[in-house]
């Protein structure tokens, strides 16, 4: 149901809250200092050891490997340089960035609209709960299953293709193969970007108080004034933050593209797949690690931007 770490942000509603400087009930840590034994740091050791083994160790292997020569293990920049100068790799990075950017914007705008439409209704009603549950599932809708869903819709034997053929005489061969093109991939990605944005953005829209709208109306402003001067600036950080998260989500995604496209690698994760499955390429195993390192850099940059944005926007959300 989920692409797992591919589309990792179905819980993004809470993530969108970001910085947790808001006050909370109770005093953390307890009150009496005598209840803080000296060895209490040992309590977190198992967790950190586990994370070190299963998260940090592989990551370090990737990062270090990106700078190592595949056959001798000597430190070298040749892999990284190859990524920056190889036109195939640059094209793949550009493809990934373009795809993620476009679907983030498309999914972001449509998802924000849908979030607004949902928030307008009864907050405790069944309709809203259904939509939120459906969004939760769709946002985590696995890559393989999503690919099949779209093949069932737009593929050669898909429902829409066949209907178009019956109704408008559109040639199914050409109309059934666009799904493998860049546009097709973008449409598929947008499919889960929208529910993801709904989950991220809904809490922000919920936070718009009725009183603000009433005040704006009472001061003579219409809908346009409300959105332009009141709601817009409040929602802007959450919206942009949502776009950034959507970008990361699409950039990291592998499963959908892997299920749809078995030949060719227009995006970076598929390039990495080639390096992982084609071991005939002797002396080049660490190129895959260099590509992975590149991905980490891009995602880290975006996440830093996101964290900074959250800190800035937190003051509005604390009210």
């Amino acid at each position: 149901m989920t692409q797992g770490a591919d589309f990792p942000l179905a819980d993004a509603g809470a993530l969108a809250r970001g910085a947790d400087d808001t006050p909370r009930p109770g005093r953390p840590g307890g009150g009496l200092k005598s209840f803080r034994p000296k060895g209490r740091h040992l309590g977190v050791v198992p967790f950190f050891v586990y994370v070190a083994i299963f998260l940090l160790w592989p990551t370090i292997i990737v990062i270090v490997g990106a700078f190592q020569n595949s056959s001798t293990g000597a430190l070298t920049f040749s892999n990284i340089t190859a990524v920056f100068t190889g036109s195939t790799y640059l094209q793949a990075f550009w493809g990934s960035i373009r795809l993620s950017g476009e679907t983030a914007i498309a999914g972001g705008v449509l998802g924000a609209l849908l979030a607004w439409a949902v928030a307008e209704g009864n907050p405790d009603g069944i309709f809203r709960r259904q939509i939120v549950a459906m969004s939760g599932v769709l946002a985590q809708f696995g890559g393989v299953m999503l690919a099949f869903a779209f093949l069932a819709t737009f593929g050669y034997a898909g429902v829409v293709t066949l209907t178009l053929h019956r109704v408008a005489g559109v040639n199914p061969i050409t109309s059934g193969s666009w799904i493998y093109s860049f546009t097709g991939l973008a449409v598929v990605y947008t499919f889960f970007q929208i529910p993801l944005m709904v989950l991220i953005f809904l809490p922000a829209v919920d936070g718009l108080k009725v009183e603000w709208r009433e005040a704006s109306d009472n001061l003579g402003g219409g809908s346009w004034a409300y959105w332009r001067y009141v709601a817009g600036p409040i929602l802007a950080p959450a919206f942009v933050g949502g776009l950034l998260l959507l970008f990361v989500s699409a950039f990291s995604a592998y499963a959908t593209a892997a299920a749809l496209i078995s030949q060719g690698s227009p995006i970076v994760p598929l390039q990495i797949r080639t390096f992982l499955t084609s071991e005939v390429v002797l002396g080049q195993a660490n190129m895959g690690k260099a590509l992975a390192f590149g991905m980490v850099v891009v995602v880290a940059v975006v996440m830093t931007l996101y964290a900074w944005l959250q800190r800035r926007g937190a003051k509005w959300q604390a009210k």
Binding site: H41, T88, G176, W178, Y180, G264, S265, V280
Partner: protein, 380 residues
Amino acid sequence: MSSLRKFGLAAVLAVLAASLFLFVAACGSPPSSSSNSSPNPAATATSASAFGGMDALITAAKKEGTLNVIALPPSWANYGEMLSAFTAKYGIKINSAQPDGSSQDEINAAKQLKGTDRAPDVFDIGSNVAIANVSMFAPYQVAEWSDIPANLKDPNGVWVSNYTGFMSIGYDAGKVPAPKTVNDLLKPAYKGAVALNGNPTQASAGFNGVVMAAMANGGGADNLAPGVDFFSKLKKAGNLLPVDPTPATIASGQTPVVIDWDYNNVAQTAANKGKLNWKTVVPANEVVAAYYNEAVNVDAPHSAAARLWEEFVYSPEGQNIWLKGAAHPVLADVMIKNGTIDKAALAALPKVVGTPVVLTQAQLATGQTYLLANWTKAVQ
């Protein structure tokens, strides 16, 4: 958190991290484990007679009870019948993994599953991948060893050719016009229609598809560049689908034109009788043939069963099963002389115009290198 506490925490974590990496660096990779405590005598047998005779081999194989095969689709050269015939004859269960895998997938699986019970026992592998991985195979000479031409086997027996076919274009006659040569596929009538079986850097069928395209465009066994250019043009024209064709994609109409071995395309004609009019054409004078090869995994979990399988597929019974699947078995000439060949199946093989080209090992190596450097760029 006070600075003292921060320091304490940081110190603890640092010590942990340091000890972890020391541990890892010291140990490296884990000791290789084998599930058998004593080595299996079949693992080093280089022929049935060396093992003690066919009956001994059969008994040992039956005792093992299982055979792991990989990348053998039932519709490929009639493997469905081959697998069930083997099980029916010897009562050995066959685990068929990754039926749509490529030759490279077979090697990857063997490496990844090394030492486990799931590792593949035998390979049916393209020549380009076989030659690059001889260290993974165990030498074994089947009973019919001497009948196999010298250029179609490794002198030590680490790999042996099993069957071949000719590169062909299969197409749905009801949806697209009949192509006569490879270059016909560049026409707009084939937009969004053409699929190549497998990635040429990883699969023999894909590789030889490029060879056929090269032959059609002024290149040949020594020069694959025109072939790669052809596919690049095909992609730019919007005719090439980035999808691996399978019987399912053919049946659903997703891939109306498939570049693949003739035995595969011919099998699809029968499979889709009544639903699609699937036809096969081997373009005249653009004929490429390539043998696939049998190999036994040097770390096979079921060594005796693996060797028994080899004996089976090279026996007249096995070779005729491949022949029924429209493949050309390696022992065909010998069997025609002996009269053990299935004459009806032989007559049903597709007709071919032109001399088939089979790449030599040297040509395979140069071709592979060229593709590795240029294929991804060309079809991106």
